[in-house]
Symmetry: C2
Subunit: 557 residues, 2 copies
């Protein structure tokens, strides 16, 4: 069974990490590029050009949808390096892997290989969309294992940019060295109905029409958003480490987690921050996976309450009263530097009696599937998917948020005026609770509907436990509205963690040739969705919650 | 001093209430008109016409902005009563007040007097915008004291409608009977800068430009929203009654409240549900006071924590765990039937450690002003003004929300498709937490600004303790955006009860003759304001939080 493989797979991960430790500086790119202090919130000047370079590198996303950035960077690299034209031309000098291996830092120049070619990428390091620290992991060696990790590199223009930095070729005998293993080879099989947005790491959503068929999304169809390869965890040797106050660590096996703490069950909807990004992307290009409307799903989760486990580890109200704290999570899914996926949530959410945060070992009444965090994950109801850390390895409490790239330099919202040249991640809070959301799952865009009556279906959900109190549906682009009927369980006030599925059956206005169907929801704080996408556009394409629109044709008699 | 007057003023209140008790049925109009069970949420059929009558009467607001409804009702009354044309014509018969006094119920016909005229309003009772129970309070007597209570009646068309029901005249000697007292005669003096939206009851807002001058709004300029006359409370005899579990009542004098419970201070913004109603009204007419953008203010409140007082009264976590409960408040301000202004909040908000709900006796470091609830009021941070009950007389805990008109049949949000003929107040939750809000306080609309640089100022706030994380400002109607600078205190996560004042200084685009200034704010759940007013329009004109727009001219060189 795949599940019984060792925790860390792929020998080159273990081999390369120590060698590169001096060059790379962990998962937090900010540490590498000279961190600039937070700017006053509210200036809109672009800042000096050298600062702009740094911020651009810092702000760039890690290996996802980064293709877009390459065009910019190429142009910027040409502007920044007047010697670009002076680079070696064919016939190229020939190097050994050992010679390439001597170039591992900007001081000794940064060289890498791809296939049989050698590249001096020193001038590109700061321009790397995934951050300089990530590209430096490959310094002195081959790019292939890294590109295998982040499949976004498998695009023609990436290789084209790389070739501009070519300085030589490998000796013929070294070119035949076997290729590195695929870190994703151990990923589990997936349901064929899923619409795959990225294969490596695996990111996929169910067909929208299937989404509203079930209040609880069947686990195989539940949207999948992995940041790294799925780790293979042996349940027999698995241990959760919980860092207690004063350095004491509580270590729990799976049987201990299940027997020492009461099992608590919560029906909760999880939504990716990038759900509906494709609509934002169609307004102006953003960086990120091209999610449709189905990066959202609902399951019944079972596990131990995080507050029970933290209490057992020695935490209590005293910590909360002593000032703001955060509960930090680390996954067992690790990048090439050995840094784990990580995230944090506010201490009050973790410890509050109504927070319902779980260390879940069950999904829809069964053991967690591997894609959803087997054997243990965090479920943080009402909070963006990214904080629901899967394959949970470690829990700690800190005065600071998780130092993880995904907490510090991703999953934040910005003004539409902010671009990659001006973004400053320190000025925006990490996304936790999500805003009110709804979408039409049926009919699909472009469908032909009968001329008599139409049934429109969809979902609606809001973050922070705020219940959905109403969904308005329009058949005429928002000029007139109907109130949809909602299904779904009644949920306690402030703990409405699950979506409401809704539907509307209405007569088709006589003589219509097309309908512009629109939905918008209202939560119990009476927050509403914004009318249009453009004013909430942001460079990462997150928090896309404008009215959802589906245009259909009406069959003519 | 005004403050030393007896609690209940105006002898006719005490005299009339018992006499009319059998006819009127308290402050809950629903009880009077035959309550129809909740409809399935989501039908958009208009319902039967008889039901529509009832709901219209139920849903109409109590004595405020009701003028609008009269037109509808007049038309409906004509349709409903085919005998309307058969009413007496001049010369009219003459009656004594004693004769009029025999007509106090629909069975004996409902007669009232105004000036020297007598009216049979039996057919109008169900059509009264303030509800049948309210108009029945005047049955058999004079309308003047009631119209003095609700100044909305002082409009020409109201008298015009009344005259259609004329059946006679008072005998000349009875016409000279002295007029009833003005229940508002004891209201306190107010600041002359306030913009008065209604004098009786007193409702006023400060000039918008003054609002952003102070983080803490000076108490005389703090917006005032009274529903009834300001009661004159004697602090020496004042007692707060807190109904404990099992029928035990905790009675607290002011000195006891101040000495037995630690004083807690909170800086909190209060906002009327109707703030910015005038913008909604300009899209399509709504019912309610014509508030501008300044029905929102911020103060430093001091008092006892509600949770400390409820704990002293015997409440604890057991109640919360036993299911949903509500903490109900009653004011000492009473209507003509003797029913108090009332409201409730969820038990969890009242008892939660982070709820910060106060029984406040101080405002901005001084004793509460009379207009703001002297000697004691509730301050519910993050929650709509209407639940912050002033002149607090009684606190109780219940499985049901407050039965008050203002909790049940007002201060709720509806779809733009719902009108007074179809509204069903049971289908919408009482407004508690308010949505994200912001507005431009300076420059004022229509101002002329310099052609070089402009400074725009405003406020931003969100309900539920959600902090404002960003304000975007546009000078070109929303095509491009700047991020404003925010002032104001840092507030703990989840307890951001106070607004942020913001400003933006930006160059005026060369060649502009006018600017279309727009602002929109984002809270820490990344909720945003909707783009436009029309899709959030609702019949009561509450929750008006679309982008705020101010158009100005640019001075030409």
């Amino acid at each position: 069974m795949l599940l019984l493989q060792p925790i860390v797979r792929g020998p080159w991960v273990l081999q390369r990490t120590p060698r590169l430790a001096a060059v790379a500086c962990g998962s937090h790119p900010r540490a590498c590029v000279g961190w600039t202090p937070p700017r006053t919130h509210g200036t809109w000047s672009a800042g000096g050009s050298s600062r702009r370079w740094k911020v651009t590198a810092v702000g760039a996303l890690l290996g996802l949808g980064a293709g877009l950035a390459y065009g910019d960077h190429r142009r910027q690299a040409e502007e920044a390096d007047p010697k670009a034209a002076a680079r070696p031309q064919a016939p190229y000098p020939v190097f050994t892997r050992q010679e390439v291996g001597r170039h591992r830092s900007p001081a000794e120049r940064v060289w890498v290989t791809y296939g049989g070619e050698v590249f001096d990428i020193t001038d590109f390091v700061e321009l790397h969309p995934g951050g300089p620290s990530k590209i430096l992991l490959a310094a002195g060696g081959a790019l292939e294992p890294f590109w295998a990790m982040y499949a976004v590199h498998s695009q023609g223009h990436v290789l084209e940019i790389l070739r501009e930095y070519k300085v030589g070729e490998l000796s013929p005998e070294e070119q035949s060295q076997p290729a590195q293993g695929d870190p994703y080879a151990g990923d589990p099989p997936r349901h064929p109905a899923l619409k795959v947005n990225s294969l490596k790491p695996f990111n996929a959503e169910p067909p929208a029409e299937l989404l509203s068929e079930n209040y609880l999304t069947p686990s195989p169809l539940f949207f999948k958003r992995n940041h790294l390869p799925v780790p293979a965890v042996d349940p027999a040797t698995y241990r959760l480490e919980v860092e207690g106050p004063g350095g004491r660590t509580l270590t729990l096996s799976l049987p201990e987690l299940k027997s020492r703490f009461p099992k608590h069950e919560v029906t909760a909807t999880l939504q990716c921050a990038g759900n509906r990004r494709s609509e934002m992307n169609s307004v102006r290009p953003v960086k990120g996976l091209e999610w449709g409307i189905a990066a959202i799903s609902t399951a019944r989760w079972g596990g131990a309450r995080l507050r029970d486990v933290l209490t057992q580890a020695g935490y209590g109200e005293a910590e909360e009263e002593a000032g703001e704290r955060h509960v930090c999570f680390e996954g067992l899914d690790k990048d090439l530097s050995g840094a784990a996926y990580g995230a944090s949530i506010p201490y009050g959410k973790a410890m509050g009696p109504g927070g319902d945060v779980l260390l879940a070992y069950e999904m829809n009444g069964e053991e967690l599937p591997r894609d959803h965090g087997y054997p243990l994950r965090v479920v943080v109801p009402g909070v963006v998917g990214a904080r629901n850390v899967k394959w949970l390895g470690r829990v700690s409490v800190s005065r600071e948020e998780s130092p993880s790239h995904w907490q510090q330099n991703d999953y934040k919202g910005f003004s539409p005026s902010v671009d990659w040249a001006t973004v400053d991640y320190t000025t925006a809070p990490a996304i936790q609770e999500l805003p009110i959301q709804s979408a039409i799952t049926d009919p699909p865009p472009g469908a032909t509907v009968p001329p008599t009556e139409i049934t429109v279906k969809g979902y609606a959900w809001s973050g922070g436990g705020r219940g959905v109190v109403r969904v308005d549906v329009s058949l005429d682009g928002g000029r007139t509205w109907h109130v949809a009927e909602m299904a779904g369980e009644e949920q306690p006030l402030g703990r409405a963690w699950a979506w409401r599925l809704w539907q509307l059956t209405a007569p088709v206005p006589p003589g219509s040739s097309a309908l512009d169907i629109v939905c918008k929801a209202v939560d119990d704080s009476y927050n509403v969705q914004p009318d249009t996408v453009e004013p909430i556009w942001n460079l990462r394409g997150v928090l896309s919650n404008a009215w959802h629109r589906v245009r259909v044709s009406v069959a003519q008699d």
